[in-house]
């Protein structure tokens, strides 16, 4: 069983703590993606699971086995590195058989497993080549093949697509997702690319500064984030945040004033009680704006990115660091310098506490 449980896992380098008591459960057969900005501890956590970094505190279990301080080779994990980490002096076949060979597996068994993996990954015709004679995508497939032949309980991927070009990245993304379906194995995948996270994951774990900000299904994280960080990190283009003030109460919610958009009475549905006059942050995704939205306002367009089917209008304000991003569909796309008359759907607005950054539900 490739079920992974992390319990209050800690990593310290001397006096510096980089992973702060992480609790996580990854179910058997689940595709779990660790995502977060650079330096958030996602790769460190993955390497701790692999056993390449010593765990300072807490426990880790795969199935019912405690692997916290177990030798990497005995954990039943296989890892695919960002740089592929292929053995340059060995052929593809030798690369894929190395682990089995030193593990004492019989020659016929090695040949069977390697050929099977090569078939799955369409590497049959490259088996006698050395890594330097392969393209980036082929090398990555060999690295995955090397992991497959060991039949691990847990596959670990450390930003495996970062070294590939955009087109190949999409191709490999699909291939890894297909492989996950075929093998049914538990996979943990580290990336800083949230498109990869959203498209591949059964479960996304958003990390910041060595702490889990939120873990859950991609759609849940997108639609129902727990805090400002997750709301801003998940989704591309990112969510718009507006400083707002609560101006009154209404049935099932409050009324807020968003100065930036010139909206004085936008209703927001929340269950919690919030005092009138309190400062809040309102989050709205670019797609929550539309030309016929019920709450109307005007916006000056500074830049418009027209992608064909969809366009993103950017409106900059000297008072805010980040521009307001609005998604527009249909034929009449604005151009830079236009004033856009547009509406938004207040039912989609999310409210956050600016001090704690937590969601107000």
């Amino acid at each position: 069983m490739g079920e992974l449980k992390l319990n209050q896992v800690i990593k310290r380098y001397g006096a510096t703590q980089v992973v702060h008591g992480v609790d996580l459960e990854v179910n058997d057969g689940e595709f779990c993606v660790f995502v977060g900005p650079s330096g958030c501890g996602k790769s460190t956590l993955l390497r701790m699971i692999a056993g390449l970094e010593e765990t300072t505190g807490g426990t880790m279990q795969i199935g019912n086995r405690d692997i916290t301080h177990l030798d990497p080779a005995k954990r039943g994990v296989a890892m695919v590195f960002q740089t592929y980490a292929l053995y340059p002096h060995m052929t593809v076949r030798e690369n894929m058989s190395f682990g089995l060979k030193i593990g004492g597996t019989s020659k016929s068994e090695i040949a069977r497993k390697v050929d099977e993996a090569a078939g799955i990954l369409k590497l049959d015709q490259y088996m006698d080549r050395k890594p330097k004679a392969l393209s980036g995508g082929q090398r990555q497939r060999v690295a995955i093949g090397r992991a497959i032949v060991r039949s691990p309980e847990l596959f670990l991927f450390d930003e495996p697509l970062s070294n590939l070009d955009a087109e190949l990245r999409v191709e490999m993304r699909v291939e890894i997702a297909r492989l996950h379906k075929r093998l049914g194995a538990t996979m943990i995948y580290v990336t800083h690319d949230q498109v990869e996270a959203m498209t591949m994951a059964d479960k996304i774990v958003v990390l910041r500064d060595g702490r889990i900000e939120q873990a859950g299904k991609p759609v849940d994280l997108y639609e129902d984030p727990d805090n400002l960080f997750v709301a801003g990190f998940i989704g591309s283009p990112r969510m718009n945040f507006f400083d707002a003030k609560v101006t009154g109460h209404r049935d099932g919610g409050v009324v807020v004033n968003i100065a930036r958009l010139g909206i004085s009475d936008m209703p927001v549905d929340i269950g919690a009680t919030v005092d009138v006059g309190r400062d809040v942050v309102i989050g709205l995704r670019p797609e929550h704006f539309s030309l016929d939205g019920p709450t109307r306002f005007e916006l000056a367009v500074d830049v418009c990115e027209n992608l064909g089917g969809v366009a993103y209008a950017y409106s900059v304000s000297p008072d805010d660091d980040l521009p307001v991003i609005v998604e527009l569909r249909g034929r009449n796309k604005p151009v830079a310098g236009d004033r856009l008359e547009i509406g938004l759907d207040p039912g989609a607005a999310l409210m956050f506490d600016p001090k704690t950054e937590k969601r107000i539900r």
């Binding site: 740089t83 980490a85 002096h89 190395f98 030193i102 090397r146």
Partner: protein
């Protein structure tokens, strides 16, 4: 094109230095090797007589053989010990820099100082090694380290290995540093022990470092002069008499400038030949990996 030609102007100073201090002396030596010359007076042309003398007397072929034998011992030991220390220090980052510096220190000391220190250590009666062995109750192992013809060459070789292990260790450590860390980590995850990672992953990838270390130590050792000259003067019974010592003896002992030149040319050919063969073999080995 004009630009390309001007680029060549920049290598003229280097070519001048090589020409004046390397090529010209070699040509002079080559010319002198066909003469009989005592350092003063006039050189007499003797044709191939000097070379005939070298190849017709066992003494000089033996000196060439001692040189090659000594080089084989020293280069093998020096590279194995350097690789051994590098492999260990590569796994011990905490003490790596200090140990590398400590190991390298002997090679920074003058040959003359090293030779005199080891001459004392090897001294048969009150030398450091024999005294230490006696005090440790290993008196049976005391030897006449430099006086026994069967041991002397190994004693001299050991001194040279002691001196330059830090040098080869530094080259191999640089080689290890060039191997991506993930390769070792991938090996660890696949269950390779420390020895298996060294044997199957690191050693093959150290190819370029091996080539450099073996080439440099071979060329350096073939030219060895100071250590055997001070420690044994080529003795006992010619056991450590290398080509370099023969050259100095003939040149400054007997003032046979012509004959010493012929021996020098022979030594140059030997060094070039060995270096050429090694370079070919080691590069081929690298390319097949």
């Amino acid at each position: 094109m004009r630009h390309r030609k001007t680029l060549y102007l920049f290598i003229i100073p280097a070519l001048l230095v090589i020409g004046v201090f390397f090529v010209y002396p070699i040509i002079l030596t080559f010319n002198m090797s066909f003469t009989r010359f005592q350092g003063i007076g006039k050189a007499t042309q003797v044709g191939l007589k000097n070379y005939d003398r070298i190849f017709s007397r066992d003494r000089y072929l033996e000196a060439a053989w001692v040189t090659v034998f000594y080089t084989v011992i020293v280069v093998t030991a020096m590279n194995l010990s350097g690789l051994f220390f590098a492999a260990i220090l590569h796994r011990l980052p905490m003490i790596r820099n200090f140990s590398r510096a400590a190991l390298y220190t002997p090679s920074m000391i003058s040959f003359v100082v090293v030779a005199y220190v080891w001459q004392f250590l090897y001294s048969p009666l009150n030398g450091g090694i024999n005294v230490a062995l006696t005090k440790l109750g290993l008196g049976a192992f005391t030897q006449n380290w430099l006086g026994d013809p069967n041991i002397a060459i190994f004693s001299v070789a050991f001194t040279q290995v002691w001196m330059f292990t830090g040098f080869t260790c530094a080259i191999y450590l640089a080689g290890f540093a060039g191997i991506p860390e993930e390769i070792g980590e991938a090996g660890r995850l696949e269950g390779a022990s420390s020895w298996q990672r060294f044997r199957y992953l690191e050693l093959p990838l150290l190819g370029p470092a091996i080539t450099v270390a073996v080439m440099l130590t071979t060329i350096g050792t073939l030219k060895t002069f100071e250590l055997p000259y001070i420690l044994t003067k080529g003795g006992p019974d010619g056991a450590t008499r290398m080509l370099s010592i023969e050259i100095i003896n003939n040149l400054f002992g007997q003032y046979k400038f012509g004959f010493a030149s012929a021996l020098s040319i022979l030594m140059l050919i030997l060094v070039l030949f060995v270096a050429f063969i090694q370079n070919r073999v080691l590069r081929d080995r690298e390319n097949t990996q």
